[in-house]
Assembly symmetry: C2
């Protein structure tokens, strides 16, 4: 298993980039509904979704926000990051079967708080921008290399 | 079961408010890890988390973002809302057992796009502000009253 590694504030440079991908499966829409409480049938009911302008079930917009947050926590800066702020603009719907790829780029460093500003862009597999925004985080001061815990098994019964 | 109802653009008034609550359970941290891919042990491993400045497992910051997004989709404007943008400032950690209460207030209406701006504040059960921000949404043009679909059963095995 690969370790979870980070970049400390001192190691981070302006222009540094990282990418992170997540395939959006049908079960993610159920999991996001459970974790947020958003039970809108646009995300959960294929028959209802077919009657809407989208024509099919789409992912909750903030699921893309969750994937962007994972990019920051897993890749850049990685473990030990403290999330200060995020702005997001939702641009295109994400559908079941889409793969979201987040591209991060460091655009600023503020020595006083050891905070870092990152430009965040989320694309689908057709390289269409689905969401974009800016993150502010406090970067880790300590180098970490952690074994990621194994996720408990999650079973979804229809 | 109660229906999911919405407020159309024409019905929404400046100053209108809504609240929405979600209790954060241990399983939500596993579900959010699965849906985002963020496997940081601060959220998943009690022994590791005890060694950090937080002293215990905390929820992923964007889980509060997910609960804010559910408030918009479930309460105000409700079903048929299209999410345009969200900014978030994370202020305090959310712990297992906390209840997040989101308070929404309409602060602006833009007739041209039928978009609505809402102030969003998320409190814990001690009335401490854990996150705040602003949402921009397109409000529904059509009145909807939907039966929320039943969530599939989700089982977590340790």
């Amino acid at each position: 298993m690969t370790t979870l590694d980070n970049f400390t504030y001192d190691e981070i440079t302006i222009g540094q980039t990282a990418t992170y991908s997540k395939a959006v499966e049908e079960r993610d829409l159920s999991l996001f509904a459970a974790v947020s409480g958003d039970l809108n049938p646009l995300h959960l009911d294929a028959v209802y979704a077919a009657t809407t302008a989208f024509g099919e079930r789409i992912a909750h917009g903030m699921l893309t926000g969750a994937v962007i947050s994972a990019a920051l926590a897993m890749k850049l800066p990685g473990p030990g990051t403290i999330y200060l702020a995020q702005d997001l603009r939702f641009r295109l719907p994400v559908k079941i079967g889409d793969t979201i790829t987040v591209e991060l780029e460091v655009t600023g460093k503020q020595d006083r708080r050891k905070s870092v500003t990152l430009d965040c862009k989320a694309y689908n597999q057709a390289r269409k921008l689905v969401a974009s925004g800016t993150a502010d985080v406090i970067a880790p001061s300590e180098k970490l290399s952690l074994m990621p815990p194994e996720l408990p098994g999650i079973t979804i019964s229809p």
